[in-house]
Structures are given as C-alpha cells and as structure tokens.
Assembly symmetry: C2
Homo-oligomer: 311 residues x 2
C-alpha cells in the first residue's frame, strides 16, 4: 500500500461519504496548551468514520460476490456502517450481533436495512455464527478492522484532515481493533510532513499498548471500559502496520475518559462518543510534551445512547 | 438599513468570528420530509451567535466611549458574548446578572473577563442596577437584542447561510428578544431569493406570537420554559422589523422542545441548547406544510449545563 492506494480509495468512496468539518475550540487549546484541530467524524454518515472502510471493502467485490451479500460481526459502529454501506451499494448485509447489544444499536442497524442475526455474547460465538452464515449464504465476510481495504478506507479521514491542515505535528486517534490507527498512521506517513500518529487506549482494554511495546500481538485481559468501541483487539493485519507506522500508544483511565468526553460535549459542543474522548484524554494526560504543537484529533463518532450518560 | 449595511457589518466583524459550518442530517431530513441545512452557531466563539451583535455594537463606539467600557444586563448568552467581545476589542465590560443565575453561566462570564454585578432576579431590578452603574461609570449600555447594531450583527449568520445555500425556501430561528429573528428576516429579504423567515417560540413565553398577530407589542404572561434564552421580550426596535420582514411565528410546547433537542443531540450529534431546539420543534409541528422544501435552521447556541439535562 502506498500514497496512490489511498488516493484511489478516497476517489472511490468520495461520492458516498461526508467531507466532515475540522473544528477548533479556543477553550480546549487553552486547557491543553496546544493548537487542536478536531476532525469530526461524528458528522459522517451513520455517525462514525467506519462507513469509510465499509464502503471501500464492499466496492472491491466482484458483481458475483456482491450478489451474495456481505456479513460481519459487530456490536458497535461497524454493524451500522456495513448495513448503511451495503444499502448505498445495493448489497445485502447480515450483521451478527450479541443478544446483549443495546436496543439502540439494533434499531440503528435495522433502520439502515441490515439483517440482524443474534448470537451469544462471546467472541467465539459471534465468530462461529458469522462463519456458519457465511458458508450457508456464500456472503463475503468483512472484518470491522483487520482488513486491508477497511484500513485504507479508515485512513481517508486523516488524508482529509491533512488536506485542511497540512502542518500538523501529530494526530491522536482512539485504538480498539486498530483499523483507524493503522489507516491514520499510514496516511500520515504518506501525506503528512513528519506527522506522528499516536493511539489512545483505555487501561481497561490495553491489548494494543502491550502488543506495541512488547512486539508480540496480545489479547485483552479485561474490557471493562465505558469506551465500548475499543473493547476489540488488534489483528494480524492491523498490528504490523501499527508497529511500522504509529509513534506510540498512551493509556488512559476511565475517569480521564469521562472527563474528556465532558470537555468535548461542553466545549466543542458535540456529542462525541466515549471512544472518541479517549484520543483527547491521551493528549491531556501527556500534554506537557505537546505544548505549542499543532495537533489533529480524530473524533471517531457520535453514536451515544442518551439514556446511558456517565454524567 | 439595507444590503450594504449588512455587508459592511459582516466585513467589520469577520476577523473576530468563526465561519460556522452548515451541517446536514439524512435522518432529520427523513423525519421532517424536507431538506434541512443547520447553521451551527454552537460552534461560534463563546458558543452562540450573540457574539456577532456584541462585537458589532462595540465597534460602533468612539475611542472615548470605548475607554469608558460597556454594560449590559443578561442572565444568558449575551452576558458571555459582551464579555468576550469586549475583551477581543480591549474594552471593559460590566454584566448585571440576577443573583439566581447559574454558577455555570457566571463562571463563563468571568472566564471571558467580564465584571459581574449581581442584582435581584427581576426585570426591574436588573434594568435599574444597569442604569445606576451606567450613570456612575459613563459606560455605554448595549441591549442584548433591542439595538439596531446588534440586530445587524445577528443577521450575518443568515448572510453566511445564504452564501452557502442560496436557494433556501425558508429559514427557522428561535425568537426571544427578537434580535436574531429581526436580523435574519432582514438579511433573508436582502440576500435570499424570496426566502421566508419564521420564528419558533415556546407557548410558555409567547410574547412575540401575540405581538406579531395582534399588531401590538405585548409582554410575556409566563416564562416557565426550558428554553432559558427565550424568556425575554421583543422591544420597540426589534418588533417593527419583525412585523415588516418575518413571515410568521409558530409556538411549540415544552415536550416538543425537549423532543427536538434530543433529536439534535442524537441525530445531528451537537449539544444544541434548548432555545435552538425551538426552531426545529416549530418546523416539526408544521412539517406537512414544508414537505420537499429546502429549509435553513439556525442553531443559536450550545451552552448547556450537563448537570441540568431534561433527558
């Protein structure tokens, strides 16, 4: 993958995505001592950056593959992303969701025309169910993050951010499955001017931190975090890209995540989801190292259940 | 006042304000059956459109007047707006606020460098206190809405919206003191293509509705509304402009306001304040008349106390 891969990807998905705005906040600049540029993917179609990768992955399929549909397992934004991307491209989408997924999320997937198949709330159960359904239907399985076409798509948010602000010193993104971090780190390598990319991760789901600094892919020992989009793990495709292109991973506590989320709601006046707040929380916790720098922060999404607010 | 007055105003205040984005929401389009364009003044400096008028009013003052400072009474966004505008222009600002105003709002005014003078929580008390202070200091009183320079400034949000979307059939704004409605209705007259401007108002503070349809300026009989920015009343300058240029005023109930606010938070993913939601609620309540139309909605601000949410 090179700069041309990203440019081709962006050209392809462009008619189906929103050019999201880059917002500033004098109050948050003051608070961090840096110049912050928020790339607000909460304003993306279906409310998160994930539509970028989902659209791109489906577009790679042959007409025959498209006719058999696509399938994924996700309890979060990728479920909605694949459902909406598939509808936009006239493809049938089946989403395996744990029976415990919130009504709010299931409703959103249904509204986008996705077919929900429920399973037991374990990783093994959802993988097994998706594999059974894939075999039976001939649908193409698209992984939410560990897929090179998905990773390219997710990197286009960073391309746009660097088009708007070419001189960023670094970019902070949340890391869960690693699709956004891998795509952003690669895109910043090709399109930035020595722009470093850092991942923010909850202590409570720190597989990426331990993998990155040990050099060996590791799993989560807990996933007890409010950042529900970040409970997933790096994969064998996203991890080497992150090892090669990312500058570091910073862990944050649950109170730090909630405090950052509140800052985004009150000061940036957007309903950023907890996972988005992890990127700002990571910068906040190490802000002494970033004084006076121009910093991009990718707000991953804004799909929040207002009945479940932490404040 | 004519098109040139607005253009001169916009040119003057432009270095001090944010060009706020115009956002779309497919979900809200579906829900209303119209094409909606949200001019998001929650992303404006200090979080509301009011900075536009405040900056413009202060800029009209002579150097001698500026040296004596400005004064206003407000428990809401104009308090913050005048404080910040004055700081940007190197002028001293005194804000008379009711003793019952929230700590959240007082804190914001102080952060912007405003000097707070507390008074009893009645209209008479705050007017009397402001007048006493004005006499003693020689400061210039600037009314939050009933001031032609303020009205011109507020109208610049509509100018920008029509620059971005010239073919709007109509624009909905909230109406409290009437500064935004008067400015928007005039600006749409000069810069729109037969673009009608409608005010949304709570039933619980419906002085503008009764004034508009009776032809006589009337006061509020209650102000028991969650839309705290709309408890104020039309004035002798804003009312005739509204009579001449606005197309109508639509009243909405408190549950309608809260439901619209929730839609803005969940679907547009911004923390719009309750007053902003009144404009969307007004459209919602009469949406059958606006099917298929291109409609601008000015989101007046995003200054919300997260400890006081209605949901």
């Amino acid at each position: 993958m090179n700069a041309a891969s990203f440019m081709a990807c962006h050209l392809k998905i462009n008619p189906h995505i929103v050019r999201t705005p880059v917002l500033r906040s004098p109050a948050l600049d003051d608070l961090t001592g840096a110049e912050l540029y928020f790339k607000c993917e909460n304003f993306q179609n279906m409310g998160a950056y994930k539509i970028r990768g989902a659209i791109h992955a489906i577009m790679q399929l042959s007409p025959k593959e498209k006719s058999k549909g696509v399938i994924t397992h996700s309890s979060g934004n990728f479920a909605q992303a694949l459902a909406l991307a598939a509808r936009k491209l006239g493809v049938r989408a089946t989403i395996v969701m744990p029976s415990t997924a919130s009504q709010y999320k299931k409703k959103a997937v249904k509204e986008y025309g996705g077919i929900i198949e429920e399973c037991e709330p374990t990783n093994e159960a959802r993988e097994a169910k998706a594999e059974d359904l894939r075999k039976a239907s001939g649908a193409t399985f698209i992984h939410p993050s560990n897929d090179l076409q998905v990773i390219l798509g997710q990197g286009t948010a960073c391309m746009e951010l660097l088009e708007d602000q070419p001189d960023l010193h670094c970019i902070f993104v949340p890391v869960g499955g690693g699709g956004l971090l891998a795509g952003t780190a690669m895109a910043a390598h090709f399109f930035g001017k020595n722009c470093k990319v850092l991942g923010g991760e909850p202590y409570e789901a720190d597989d990426a931190y331990r993998s990155f600094y040990s050099g060996t892919l590791q799993g989560n020992t807990s996933t007890n975090t409010i950042a529900d989009g970040l409970k997933t793990m790096l994969g064998d495709l996203s991890f080497p890209i992150i090892q090669k292109y990312a500058a570091g991973i910073i862990r944050v506590t649950e109170p730090e995540i909630i405090a950052a989320m509140r800052l985004l709601w009150e000061r940036l006046t957007i309903t950023a989801e907890p996972s988005s707040a992890v990127a700002l929380a990571a910068l906040q916790s190490e802000r002494k190292n970033y004084r006076g720098k121009r910093i991009g922060i990718i707000i991953s999404g804004g799909n929040v259940d207002l009945d479940m607010l932490p404040f």
